[in-house]
């Protein structure tokens, strides 16, 4: 049983994420009145990239080639700390939420360092933006974890995301909604979606994440895009599990979890379709708003 759960969890973590990108793109296409690329297009894109050869810049060193793979490892490990709906996380211990945050931090550190290895001013620009905006996002996530820890009385992600029933729902709902709002903004920011970043744009001066990987090609770019998809899945799964109480749903939770993630992808697609990108200098204010949502949620649980 345990092995089967582990296998399903791992399968979800490794195989499911690219479809979220497909759903986002399909939603955007629907808004624009287009048919759009097939749902499974992201898988084809990844396979194509992995089959390609590699062109490297003369300036780069081993850091450039190692970083995407190491960052992917860190992101996958972070995903293993997170429960998937009714399935417990394969790895759980007290304090794993801190490891979760710092593993994502490790991935960011590596990708940003690799960007600086190319010696390109554009990539430096992207790296600077990525690491600077992350400071605000990490504060928001930690506030959210404090709320969850306080609500559930637990100190491990698996129990923190479940144990809300110990307090009354009426009391828990308001702070949970506040941190969900904050976490949704963080999901958009950390996965470089509109209004923070536009994954479709080719105007390098205004991009954040995409501009860091301009010089990565072939398998390296594939690793980075795959890692980004998994990161979207992880942060999305965190948000979905804050919103949906899987303990009360029982064994039928797995389809609900998947449906929740797909719903989140549709929501991201809707946001991308109806909003414009923010001016770069306004991004910190939106992220501060995310932190404040979570902070107010925290003040509510401290009462």
């Amino acid at each position: 049983m345990r092995a089967a759960e582990f296998a399903i969890h791992l399968l979800l973590l490794l195989a499911f994420p690219p479809i979220l990108l497909g759903v986002i793109n399909k939603t955007k296409a629907a808004f624009a009145g287009r048919v759009g690329a097939p749902l499974l297009q992201p898988y084809h894109d990844l396979l194509k990239l992995f089959r390609k050869g590699l062109v490297l810049s003369e300036t780069t060193t081993w850091v450039f080639t190692l970083a995407p793979a190491a960052a992917l490892l860190a992101v996958i490990l972070a995903g293993m700390l997170l429960p998937a709906g009714p399935l417990d996380a394969p790895i759980r211990f007290t304090g794993d939420m801190i490891l979760f945050v710092y593993l994502l931090g490790l991935a960011r550190f590596l990708i940003a360092t690799a960007a600086l290895d190319t010696g390109s001013s554009f990539e430096g620009m992207g790296a600077a933006r990525e690491v600077s905006f992350a400071c605000l996002a990490e504060g928001a996530v930690l506030f959210a974890f404090l709320v969850l820890a306080k609500n559930s009385g637990a100190l491990a992600l698996s129990s923190m995301l479940r144990g809300v029933e110990e307090v009354e729902w009426g009391i828990a709902a308001a702070p949970l909604l506040l941190i969900s709002a904050g976490l949704f903004i963080v999901v958009l920011a950390e996965n470089c979606r509109v209004p923070f970043d536009d994954p479709n744009t080719h105007l390098e001066l205004t991009m954040i994440h995409e501009v860091m990987v301009l010089d990565h090609g072939g398998p390296l770019l594939g690793l980075i895009l795959y890692g980004a998809a998994i990161k979207l899945y992880i942060l999305g799964a965190l948000l979905v599990q804050v919103l949906i109480p899987f303990d009360n749903i029982g064994p039928g939770g797995a389809p609900v979890f998947v449906a929740g993630l797909l719903g989140l992808a549709v929501a991201i697609g809707v946001v991308e379709s109806i909003m414009a990108r923010l001016q770069l200098r306004h991004i910190p204010y939106l992220l501060t708003a995310a932190t404040l949502f979570c902070a107010f949620g925290f003040l509510l649980v401290t009462r």
């Binding site: 490990l77 007290t94 931090g105 550190f109 790296a127 600077a128 506030f143 009385g153 010089d215 404040l292």
Partner: protein, 655 residues
């Protein structure tokens, strides 16, 4: 017996500078003899202090001293032994490092004095830690301060160095003054001029608070706590790099040792003291790393990051004090364990980074990040080791910095969880601040390692850099290995931490069950996961990548199709830091010079990259007004949250 061995080790360290002092810098034999003495002393001291820490050794020796009212009382307990370990470790590695870094042929003027003071600093720090009588402690403290002064002003032909040394000298004596006051008050309370537990006084007793406050100022200046840190960046940046390493990695910890020791004497401190320490720690950490980010001088930046790390230490200490005030043993164990482990961790990665900065300085003769670049091709080993240090100091797994921060986080979460009724917002607000500190540290060290070591060389100086000799690389290698070892095997350091924590708490933790660090903190899990991550990264880099790399071509950086990218077009350190540094400009007062472009054919002009100076300049008035009057809703709301948190917290102080 062990105490005697440790005294001998300190004496050997002291003697290590004497041969060169007497015979002159030219004699190879004197240098070799001195180095052997120094290494012998550090090795003996390291082994003996680890051993006494393992065996929970408590011992004491008293000798008569001709000074009236004083006695030569020396003592050893796990807390002392814990702080002795970094002294001997970094002392020994620094002795190795300077063999290649500070040679008499390059520095004939100051070599003798420098060698002698290097030994004296180690010996005096060891004496500070094992001194038990107040007068002896102050004597050792002064000796340490003076030897550090002479080491900081080693290159006293430079104006900047003289000024930094002078500021340090004034600062350290202000601190010593308040320590005098502290010991005097302690004598009125406990009746002995010693580290002696203080009576459980009424909380109204102003003398207890005065002891705390004087200790906080006196030791806080040495440790570099935020408003008292003003001497630190200049002093650490202008000293020779191995001296910066020992000042940052070890001497700051003497201030922390003093605070830890002083606070262990209060049987029931008020909760507010813990809160004061937490707030000071959060402020030091946050502003320290922010100012580090705004700095483009490699060593000054590292010095500011020491202020940050002392802030993190202080957060752990504050948590432990809160735990003691409330009788919560788990908070004490987590807070003190995190604080003490961070003492060791910072003593591992900061010297590693300063040694790396020294190697860069040695190879390029510049500390300015904006003239470096591309060093990882020219100094591959230094670059790799520096990167390990950068990852550790950013508290990223699988390295050691993460473990100590995890302990502190866990304590903060427990505090916020267990204490209901609201007022605990203050304590718990520290956790998100610690997360922001971590993210800022990562940003800062992406900047340093990226700008200095990666990309293309920005100047001919960086182009001409060569790898450092083995005697400089070996100490860095040892430190990097220690960083990885503590990160992957945190269980291995748990017994040491428990021994010292027990000594601070004053009672034994319940073995094999609740109460020990291993039982409260997930050290085993962290070790396993970090090990898996480290093995994963290593196997990817060694096995997978060489196979995956079907490199079909090497070309110049694409750079969006620009046809002739030059190294000077790269993103510089100041531009990298601009997003984060801009809001700080009213504090850091950056100066930069641009060429004036006049007419159709402007003449060449100088460009000076941005340089920031230290924080306390100008009155406080403009800072406060600008903090409030800027019209940004989000920032005002953030202030509101902060103030609400503080108010809620204050409301709980007097139940």
């Amino acid at each position: 017996m062990i105490l005697l061995v440790l005294e001998a080790a300190a004496a050997l360290a002291l003697l290590s500078g004497v041969p060169v002092l007497l015979s002159g810098a030219g004699s190879i034999h004197a240098r070799a003899f001195g180095r052997v003495l120094g290494l012998l002393g550090s090795t003996t001291g390291l082994v003996a202090s680890m051993w006494s820490l393992c065996s929970h050794n408590h011992s004491r020796q008293d000798f008569a001293w001709s000074l009236p009212g004083a006695s030569l009382s020396l003592g050893l307990d796990p807390l002392s032994a814990f702080f002795l370990v970094p002294i001997f470790l970094i002392g020994g590695l620094g002795t190795l490092y300077q063999a290649g870094y500070w040679t008499p042929s390059i520095h004939p003027r100051n070599y003798r004095r420098h060698c002698f003071c290097w030994g004296l600093l180690q010996a005096s720090m060891a004496l500070v830690v094992i001194a038990r009588h107040g007068v002896l402690f102050l004597f050792a403290w002064e000796l340490m301060a003076l030897s550090a002064y002479f080491l900081i002003s080693t290159e006293d032909q430079l104006e900047e160095v003289r000024e930094a040394g002078w500021v340090y000298l004034v600062a350290t004596h202000v601190g010593t003054l308040s320590l005098f006051g502290m010991f005097a008050l302690m004598k009125t309370l406990s009746g002995a001029l010693e580290w002696h537990p203080l009576p459980t006084g009424a909380p109204e007793d102003w003398r207890l608070f005065a002891v705390f406050l004087l200790g906080l100022v006196g030791f806080g200046i040495k440790a570099g706590i935020m408003p008292l840190h003003f001497w630190l960046p200049g002093a650490h940046a202008n000293a020779p790099s191995h001296v910066s390493a020992i000042l940052s990695g070890v001497m700051l910890k003497m201030g922390v040792y003093g605070l830890v020791r002083t606070l262990s004497l209060f049987p029931d401190p008020p909760v507010a003291w813990g809160a004061i320490l937490l707030v000071l720690g959060a402020a030091s950490g946050f502003l320290g790393i922010w100012l580090a980010m705004a700095n483009q001088d490699l060593k000054r930046l590292l010095a500011y990051s020491s202020v940050e790390n002392v802030g993190i230490l202080l957060m752990g200490l504050g948590l432990a004090v809160i735990g003691r005030a409330l009788g919560r043993e788990d908070l004490q164990v987590l807070g003190m364990g995190g604080c003490l482990l961070h003492v060791w961790n910072h003593a591992l990665f900061k010297p590693l980074l300063f040694f790396g900065a020294g190697s860069v300085l040695h190879a390029t003769h510049s500390r300015q990040l904006d003239v470096l670049g591309g060093l990882s091709r020219r100094m591959p080993l230094t670059a790799a080791l520096f990167l390990i240090g950068a990852l550790s100091i950013s508290a990223l797994p699988p390295l050691n910095g993460f473990v100590s921060e995890l302990l502190i986080y866990q304590g903060l979460f427990r505090a916020s969880q267990a204490l209901d009724g609201g007022g605990w917002a203050g304590a718990a607000l520290s956790a998100p601040i610690l997360a922001m500190i971590g993210a800022l540290a990562a940003a800062c060290f992406v900047k340093v390692s990226g700008v200095a070591f990666l990309g293309a060389p920005r100047t001919p100086r960086a182009e001409a850099a060569r790898e450092s000799p083995g005697s400089m690389l070996a100490p860095m290698g040892i430190l990097a290995a220690c960083c990885l070892a503590v990160g992957v095997l945190p269980v291995g350091v748990a017994p040491f931490l428990e021994a010292a924590t027990e000594c601070w708490i004053g009672e034994t933790l319940v073995a094999n069950g609740e109460g020990t660090l291993g039982a409260i903190a997930p050290l085993r899990d962290i070790g396993l996961l970090s090990g898996a991550l480290a093995i994963g990264i290593a196997s990817v880099s060694l096995l997978l990548l060489p196979r995956m790399k079907k490199v079909v071509g090497r070309q110049m950086t694409w750079d969006c199709g620009y046809s002739s990218p030059g190294p000077r077009m790269q993103y510089s350190a100041s531009s990298f830091a601009r997003i984060l540094a801009k809001p700080l400009e009213w504090v850091s007062h950056p100066t930069s010079a641009f060429p004036r472009l006049v007419g159709l054919f402007p003449e060449k002009g100088p460009f000076k990259p941005q340089e920031s100076r230290s924080f306390p300049e100008g009155g406080l008035q403009p800072y406060l007004t600008r903090l409030v009057e800027h019209g940004r809703l989000q920032l005002n709301l953030a202030l509101f949250v902060l103030i609400l948190g503080i108010l809620l917290f204050l409301g709980r102080l007097d139940p």
